[in-house]
Symmetry: C2
Subunit: 206 residues, 2 copies
């Protein structure tokens, strides 16, 4: 009912299929926009400014921090990563549900500043299945896979802070469920204050 | 994912189509149960004990209050009305989502005691449409209809306390939306603590 888009945060273990899920969701429905992060790290081969990331200088990033132009930011390995407000808010104003694919720390910061944001954690059906998928990719050594599983075990400690758990068993069904989950949030009372006020006024004057 | 049923509270203006909506939902899906209220008022022509209401004596009702056997209760026109815990909790244990069709005051009491309950307010698309529907029934005098509209205007003051607003424009679509809305809540993190704990333990031991 409400015309404004929602702020949706998606996190999940490496190997849970987040990337595939996001791609399928954006391919299938045109009411979504994927937030693009800003970073101070150098572009890698094939990465394009404004597609994978907004590549900015350290000075520019720190200016954005000072100007409160970021929804959240963090430092990893001497580089800044953050979510610029401009793009997210303008997309939401245009009625698109904006998806932030970020890690737990960032997700919690977003929830603190924007309690109406929807936090979704994408899970594999089981730990065993996560391992199978990571091995199945065939792109990483067992050492890297073990590190990813250890990391997943750590990240799993923060899951209760999320609003919803989405199990990615069959991708097609998972995309539909995610779409429903987000669209249903448009029915929240807090998203429909104008409608409620309108009906209230109308009822008084009938 | 979770095996336990949800507690769903449905309220809405007289004439918003709650009754039709509930009937269609229960006809179409068998994972729902409708809570049956207990009351001290006398059965009306055609009402059957255990179908419309559990008809009980005033002594019995007050015993239930003392025994904390009611989820919520209230007094209207010298009669008690309340929701017995037994039926609701046993249906939830059996995996059914239990729907309580109650008024705002009762809804707020339920939310206080069971914060995980989902509160849904059913609305007509407009105040004008509500009036049209009430007139269209052809069963009530304009005096009664005006009283219902006044009552709706009063009830409208409490809508923000509900979680979701469901606009009943086309009944078929509204039933589907309500079903999705309730089923999506099974994905809440709080409803999946066992699953989260299981994956967490598994990841630690992979």
């Amino acid at each position: 009912m409400s015309g404004r888009g929602m702020l949706v945060v998606v996190s999940g273990f490496s190997g849970a299929g987040k990337g595939t899920l996001m791609k399928a969701l954006l391919d299938r429905y045109d009411n979504y926009a994927l937030s693009i992060s800003a970073t101070t790290r150098a572009p890698r081969e094939g990465e394009i400014d404004g597609r994978e990331y907004f590549f900015v200088s350290r000075d520019r990033f720190e200016e954005m921090i000072v100007q409160d132009a970021l929804i959240e930011y963090a430092q990893y390995v001497n580089n800044y990563y953050g979510t610029p407000k401009d793009y997210v808010f303008s997309q939401m104003e245009a009625g698109r549900d904006v998806i932030l694919e970020i890690e737990i720390q960032g997700a919690l910061k977003v929830k603190e500043r924007f309690p109406q944001a929807i936090l979704i954690f994408v899970m594999p059906p089981s730990g065993r299945e996560l391992k199978t998928r990571l091995i199945g990719r065939g792109t990483e050594s067992m050492e890297v896979i073990d590190a990813r599983l250890k990391r997943a075990a750590q990240e799993a400690e923060g899951i209760e802070a999320y609003d919803y758990i989405l199990v990615n068993d069959k991708i097609d069904q998972c995309v539909e469920t995610m779409h429903q989950l987000i669209q249903i949030q448009h029915l929240r009372a807090g998203e429909n204050e104008e409608f409620i006020t309108r009906i209230r006024e109308e009822l008084k004057n009938l």
